[in-house]
Symmetry: C2
Subunit: 199 residues, 2 copies
């Protein structure tokens, strides 16, 4: 009887398919399910179904949304002439948290990564070009992560978008607030120096 009871083993296997969940965590979570009242477990299963059924993508910015057009794209108080291009929904949440950006977004759903077999066609770049051509867009801020694939995507986009006659900008690199120069990596420090400004 070394193996788990079959329905439990199946539940553990399902938890293991989630990102960042190992064997021990999956087991602990499966036991949490067993220990919770039936109603809570059923509500959990329902929440999974609801999320999959009710969440789609905004037809404008491609962000995940439960509406045809997301609240940001349908808002009249946002500046629709500035589009911030990000990799994923989490990036939108992070920027929204700052409460300073009033433009709209465009979610690529990934970055160009030949290693993973992801080329420009797999990203929502076509939709971005359509928006630039049809809407009155003044500026595109490229806010992909400052990683190898994020930078490559930024480079690709800037070359693609500049001929469209829009201003293309990239978020700044530099030292995070509260950091110590002693511990900063040299690429970051180099970019912080190159990106210096008058005070």
């Amino acid at each position: 009887m070394e193996e788990l009871v079959k329905p439990l083993q199946e539940l553990v296997d399902k938890f293991r398919t989630l990102e960042g969940v190992g064997k021990k965590s999956a087991m602990r979570m499966a036991f949490s399910i067993l220990d919770m009242p039936d109603a809570d477990a059923f509500a959990f299963a329902q929440a999974i179904l609801d999320a999959k059924t009710n969440i789609g993508r905004c037809s404008v910015c491609q962000n995940i949304s439960s509406d045809e057009v997301c609240p940001i794209c349908s808002s009249s108080t946002r500046d629709h002439s500035v589009i911030c291009v990000v990799e994923d929904y989490q990036a939108v949440l992070a920027i929204e948290k700052v409460k300073e950006y009033s433009g709209v977004y465009h979610v690529l759903h990934g970055t160009i990564s030949p290693m993973k077999g992801i080329g420009p066609d797999q990203l929502k770049i076509k939709e971005l070009l359509e928006r630039i051509n049809s809407e009155n867009v003044q500026e595109v801020i490229i806010a992909t992560n400052p990683t190898v694939s994020g930078e490559a995507t930024a480079m690709y986009l800037s070359r693609l978008l500049k001929p469209c006659g829009v201003k293309v900008t990239r978020i700044a690199n530099g030292l995070p607030v509260g950091a110590d120069l002693e511990y900063a990596d040299s690429v970051t420090l180099y970019r912080a120096i190159m990106g210096r400004h008058d005070i």
Copy 2:
């Protein structure tokens, strides 16, 4: 738009109810669900329902089981005169992994813990007494964890069971194999010395 899309927020909240899952992990797992194909997500939900519906408790040893009597209790090759009393299902799995124990189990489903409001009545102690009185039990091995509540439970059980005329034993404390005396805590070391045996 700082809040999450509602069905997503609800899914994140559900993941947070699982033991050991924090805000960031819950979010990451919810996104895994969104990213997986519909069929996989539906199978996930179904696995939760199946686990809750099909897993009950063995009527003899109280271990979780998908049958009325679990494979261990219904096995004719196990020694039914020796009962190993453990806190939970995970302990059964751990002992089974050793492949040396041939007796049967009794799962208490917790330990006596006045801090958490768990007294002997909330544990499967009544069922253990019934087994000792009705079956031909020779020895009860108390294998609750060597923690404060595990020790308290072991002490309680030994006082309760000794008058029943069965041999009551407790698993040994001592240094784990491969350990270093230098780093052993003094209680463990004390018990290792007190529990010394001839070689």
